[in-house]
């Protein structure tokens, strides 16, 4: 074959073989910042997907994982200086907080939501601002009450208690045996709020009314909630919980110090994955003794839950917005998202109802199956009002958490509620 023709042929063949449609300039980088996942394997999976994404999109995709507590300073500095990562993970209802700096991704979110059975309500509260999707919902970190089946059996309890009064009696007996219930009430971003807010709602208390304009915290329900917790704490809980952050209850549970605690699936998953290191008093692997109750017990006003939603936002300052949108579409393609979802084993559940039917649920251990439809139940900060930036302010100042903490430390319930009310008033009305 003539040399030129040969080169031409191999040249075209080469392009076809590479199957790359370089839509973006050579050397374009897409930088995504996420938290360091509670499940290390999930991050490993994402890192594995990065080169695949790079090939598919024709640009270099890089993930950066930082401590969840460090997300906000990075976001702040990036927005204020107008430069930084292209996509940043948003927890809770941060899209409301940073609304003016985020790109409208409705054109990415709407189609995916429609094709996957719709997003959970928690996302229309947290990721949608003013009718526009400012974040692409990614997943929900659901929680449940993890408890030791054997310890509950020892005091004759076969089923997880249905009401708070029952739970308190159970806890009393457990604490008498030296294995109390554990709950964090310190200044940490996950466990204390996911307990405090639903607990408040269970008793009929709420921060604001439906309009989100009036502070209604000082109500009979709130005072009762604080009073109940004061008694519950003394009778049934590990009193060190005031100093606990998100990790203490995991450790205490794994060491056999507490018999029940509200947490994500990480207690079970880690116990199983390190079954030769985490054992109970008898030397048996602990994971076999762990059971999950999908929701906390019922209060006089109902049974509520609060989970941590997380989503991805594209920053307005990013020069690669189209690339970022294409990446999000790629990330949520069934094949790719599915792999990440399965690796999580229920720690993070999907953002749409479709993933409830994923075959993974049939294969994983029974205690983990409670998380399957969990995300349907969750409300959002500021309930029943809108999950606005003011609700975020109340959350970051730990007002509800501290209301309970103060009550538990000895302040009169009415005073603790009054204090919280005055703080909330400053936020909502000041």
């Amino acid at each position: 074959m003539e040399r030129r023709a040969f080169i031409k042929l191999t040249g075209i063949a080469g392009i076809l073989a590479a199957r790359r449609a370089p839509a973006f300039a050579q050397g374009t980088k897409l930088h995504i910042v996420r938290w360091v996942d509670f499940i290390p394997e999930a991050d490993v999976e994402l890192k594995r997907q990065a080169p695949e994404a790079s090939r598919a999109l024709g640009a270099e995709v890089t993930f950066e994982f930082i401590n969840a507590n460090d997300l906000q300073p990075r976001i702040t500095a990036a927005i204020q200086s107008g430069s930084g990562a292209d996509i940043i993970q948003m927890l809770w209802n941060w899209p409301h907080l940073y609304a003016n700096a985020l790109v409208d991704v409705s054109d990415v979110a709407e189609p995916i939501g429609k094709s996957q059975g719709g997003f959970y309500d928690i996302f229309s509260a947290s990721a949608k601002v003013g009718g526009k999707w400012l974040s692409m919902p990614h997943g929900v970190g659901a929680n449940a009450v993890a408890y030791r089946r054997s310890l509950f059996n020892e005091i004759g309890v076969k089923e997880f208690p249905k009401t708070w009064d029952e739970y308190r009696d159970v806890g009393k007996k457990l604490k008498a045996k030296g294995k109390p219930i554990g709950q964090a009430l310190g200044h940490s971003f996950g466990d204390p709020p996911t307990f405090s807010y639903p607990f408040l709602w269970d008793f009929g208390g709420a921060e604001v009314d439906k309009t989100g304009k009036k502070v209604v915290l000082n109500s009979k329900g709130s005072v009762e909630a604080v009073k109940f917790l004061q008694a519950f704490w003394k009778d049934a809980c590990d009193e060190g919980g005031l100093a606990w952050d998100d990790t203490n209850n995991n450790r205490a549970f794994h060491a056999g110090e507490i018999s029940a605690t509200l947490n994500g699936a990480s207690i079970y998953i880690v116990a199983k994955r390190q079954k030769d290191k985490i054992k109970d008093d008898k030397g048996e692997p602990l994971w076999q003794d762990i059971e999950h109750a999908a929701l906390m017990p019922k209060g006089p006003a109902g049974q509520f839950a609060l989970y941590v939603p997380f989503q991805h936002s594209i920053m307005k300052y990013s020069p690669n917005q189209k690339l970022a949108k294409d990446f999000l579409k790629w990330l949520h393609a069934d094949a790719n998202y599915g792999k990440w979802f399965e690796v999580n084993e229920g720690y993070s559940v999907g953002s749409t109802k479709k993933w409830e039917d994923n075959p993974m649920w049939g294969k994983i251990d029974k205690p983990l199956q409670v998380f399957r439809q969990a995300a349907r139940a969750s409300l959002m900060l500021g309930h029943p009002g809108p999950a606005s930036a003011k609700a975020t302010e109340a959350y970051t100042k730990y007002i509800i958490v501290d209301m309970f903490a103060k009550g538990v430390q000895g302040m009169k319930a009415e005073d603790a509620v009054k204090w919280a009310e005055s703080e909330l008033k400053k936020i909502y009305e000041g």
Binding site: V36, D70, S83, K277
Partner: protein, 283 residues
């Protein structure tokens, strides 16, 4: 010589000193034990019968190995060292010159300038980092060590200046006068006579600056993003703490390894450090 009875020596000297040493170094012992303790023991309850908080019968180097194999810890060590050395160098350079000028030269606004350099020391970094992020972006220094190398001197220079200023004031003016009668310029006298005498002061300021820069957290967190570029405090905290699980073994291993280089530097210069600070405080 002040004569002292043996029992007094024990009560007033040996025992208190031992208590100080134990109290100061106990946490390090604790960190060391944690770093070589196998995971199974780390998860044990405090009331367990075989709980041995103060020693372990199964020491393991797995945490140290994991630190090097599974994270980019060596990069962090190098980055932190590099940044610390250069920012210390810059701060010493500026501090030396500025300290000399403020101590020795008469010029208008000397007092005001000295005070304002010191006032900048009072501004907290937790406020400054936000506008600083802006400047870093303008100079396109984001995610490079230079972002830190140029911002660390903001809290290192005032200290170095003040320390060296005091130090220079203790050096008798006559030395310079003699040198200049001998034909040296003021600048030459500064370089060849004064600075060599001030070496202990320079060393002590340098050591202090090195420590502060090694220790810094928030600027490093905000201005660096790639894992290979991070510094030891930021890297260890990001990688060893995943959500609700602390990898205590590796955390403590990282903490110990992250202090060794500085400790080595200190052990060489501690005597200078001790004598060096003397000069500054007389001023």
């Amino acid at each position: 010589m002040v004569i002292e009875r043996p029992w007094k020596r024990w009560v007033y000297f040996y025992i208190p000193l031992t208590v100080f040493v134990i109290g100061t170094l106990f946490p390090f012992y604790w960190m060391l034990i944690t770093a070589i303790r196998p995971d199974a023991e780390l998860y044990r309850s405090w009331r367990a019968v075989n709980n041995t908080p103060f020693w372990t019968l199964n020491p393991t180097l797995e945490h140290f190995k994991d630190l090097f194999a599974k994270t980019t810890f060596p990069h962090w060590l190098w980055n932190t060292f590099f940044i610390a050395v250069i920012s210390t160098g810059i701060s010493l350079f500026c501090g030396l010159l500025a300290g000399y000028a403020l101590a020795r030269l008469k010029f208008p606004m000397a007092g005001a300038l000295g005070t304002s350099i010191f006032v900048t020391y009072l501004v907290p970094p937790t406020l400054l980092f936000i506008p600083l992020a802006d400047i870093i972006r303008n100079f396109q220094l984001g995610n490079t060590p230079w972002a830190l190398i140029l911002t660390y001197p903001t809290f290192l220079i005032p200290f170095c200046t003040w320390l060296l200023m005091g130090y220079f004031k203790t050096i008798p003016k006559e030395l310079e006068e003699c040198a200049r009668i001998d034909g040296a310029t003021r600048f030459g006298a500064m370089l060849r006579i004064i600075f060599p005498i001030a070496v202990p002061g320079i060393l002590s300021a340098g050591i202090f600056a090195f420590t502060l820069s090694w220790n810094e957290f928030i600027y490093a967190l905000v201005f660096l993003s790639s894992p290979e570029r991070k510094t030891v405090p930021v890297g260890v905290v990001s990688e060893m703490i995943r959500g609700d699980i602390y990898f205590w073994g590796q955390l403590m291993a990282g903490a110990l390894l992250g202090s060794i280089p500085v400790a080595l530097v200190y052990s060489f210069f501690v005597e200078y450090y001790v004598t060096g600070l003397t000069g500054s405080v007389k001023g």
